[in-house]
Amino acid sequence: MKAVITGLRRVVALVGLPIVLLLVWWFASADSHTAAMPPLKRILKVFPDTWFGERLTDDVLPSLIRLTEGYCAALVIGIVAGVAIGSSRTVRAFVEPVLEFLRAIPPPALVPILFLIAGIGDTTKILVIIAGCVWPILLNTVEGVRGVDPVLVDTCLTYRVSGLLRLRTFVLRSASPQIMTGARQALSVGIILMVISELKASTDGLGYTFEQFQTRFQYPQMWSGVLVLGLIGVVLSLLFRFVESRVLAWHRGQRAAERTSL
């Protein structure tokens, strides 16, 4: 009985507010005559035809594959570079302004530059995703590594714990809550950049589909794409939660977080 109530409560927590917001949207948009903001009724009506067909395998899947590749590459680069930069004041001072410079270049300006370097194809799109995802991971890793407990640093020194052992058992562990925060942030940034990377010079993908809907003024379809992106965000965050609870099982804050979050 208790399990049923807990399960029910979880479901209500998951869909309760979204349903309320959808209802608000439904009634507020019901008699909209503005083409760019169609009634939710029309958006939901075109949803199955738009997404439950070839698009799922021809556009959504390639997008998700590129997202996975870019995201994983960004994780590796962000954590490796973050540990290196976070551990050394000199390195940090040397590279930080250049990194900040690169971070501030807007993706629409970056995409044409990457076309020139990496050509038109999956490589450029993955590079765009990396170029956006890497920053939250890198910054959080740097801060996490910088902020390790000085008592633990001294302990490590005293016990002569060094090298890879020190990195694995101590530096990465201490920094992991903040690294996970960065990884979480990067996930939704990655979805956004997945779309942006496909707006131009693409032949498939969610972004390509979005661009088609916009240039063909198919706004109900475009808004149904917005719903798809949101759903992808929810599903990926559930997956992320699952991974995170394994990685951070030891961490004190995690227990509280697990109880209350998605």
Binding site: V24, G119, T215, R216
Partner: protein, 320 residues
């Protein structure tokens, strides 16, 4: 009490999405002081094609019609047409197929004047299908190859496919890649595509590389109406006087631009970054005052033929 404050705060957070999602209707506003000029917002793209409206503004053609012109530059028809439909812009500039497609998909858009046409000469137009590989000498040879168009489903994609089809190639075997005009020369130079379809000033840059032009808008139809000035059906109904005055002013501007190419080359430098030497030598589009409805019919056919929309756009609905 606390709960209410929380609710208010949360409402604030979701306001953004709900504002974007559930916005109701916005009536086209023409902020008019009695007796004063009508302020109109016009959505344009910062390209050579819209030179007449900038020229007409500087010549005072709009002031003569008691119109205070406010030109807003946007990134393309995909941003301008919903703005015209929703009343943000009273008038807008967009390529003709986009207007037809928009109308088919329920946007309330009416054409009021021609935007621009071809230069009239198939061998020397302001547009061109350009190849780098000298062994490709005719469009049919592009079958199965990668060709760059500025957008998916726009006039450029239609033109590429039609040029290949007219030459006996299979238009559906082409792989069309959307690349902005300014990036096309680099893409072809680095062999990322096999051909590009560019307009001025990109076309000049491509020609300067010594590449050859295989066809243009003018090859398909020398009288083709490439772009249109549009308004919303609502404004046309509610304020026909304003629409008539704007139409008179824009037609006068088009006429003036057509007969004063040097002034056009001059004014383009004030709203674009096209260098003076390029402006002096580039091919200008034609600026007829009247819409060539026959070419709109051709475009409507091409839109269906190449699967951009399922139903054929209703040309008369745009022109009425």
């Amino acid at each position: 009490m606390r709960m209410r404050r929380l609710a208010a705060l949360f409402a604030g957070a979701t306001l953004v999405i709900s504002a974007a999602a559930c916005g109701g209707e916005k009536t086209p506003t023409t902020p008019t002081t009695p007796g004063g000029p009508d302020t109109v917002n016009v959505g344009v793209i910062p390209i050579v094609d819209v030179a007449p409206i900038f020229l007409g503004e500087s010549k005072g053609f709009f002031t003569e019609e008691n119109i205070d012109l406010n030109l807003d530059t946007a990134a393309g028809g995909a941003a301008i047409l919903p703005g015209v439909d929703g009343g943000t812009f009273q008038f807008g500039f967009s390529n003709a197929p986009s207007v037809l497609i928009a109308q088919t998909n329920g946007l309330d858009i009416k054409a009021i004047a021609s935007g621009n046409g071809t230069a009239g000469d198939p061998d020397n137009d302001f547009s061109g299908l350009v190849v780098k590989d000298p062994s490709i000498t005719r469009p049919a040879q592009l079958a199965g190859k990668k060709v760059a168009a500025n957008t998916q489903g726009g006039i450029v994609e239609l033109a590429i496919r039609e040029l290949v089809a007219k030459d006996g190639g299979d238009p559906n075997s082409l792989e069309i890649v959307a690349i902005g005009f300014p990036d096309m020369v680099a893409a072809l130079d680095n062999d990322q595509v096999d051909a590009i379809f560019a307009v001025e000033p990109t076309l000049s840059a491509a020609k300067a590389k010594g590449w050859s032009v295989l066809g243009s808008f003018a090859t398909i139809d020398p009288k083709m109406t490439v772009a249109l000035y549009v308004t919303s059906g609502k404004l046309a109904q509610e304020n026909p006087d304003l629409v008539a005055r704007f139409t008179r002013a824009i037609k006068k501007s088009l006429e003036y631009a057509q007969s004063h190419p040097d002034e056009v080359r001059e004014i383009v430098g004030t709203y674009t970054n096209v260098p003076a030497e390029v402006r002096a030598n580039m091919t200008l589009p034609g600026w007829p005052t009247e819409i060539d409805s026959g070419s709109l019919d051709t475009l409507a056919d091409l839109i269906v033929k190449y699967g951009v929309t399922d139903t054929r756009p209703d040309v008369s609905a745009i022109l009425s």
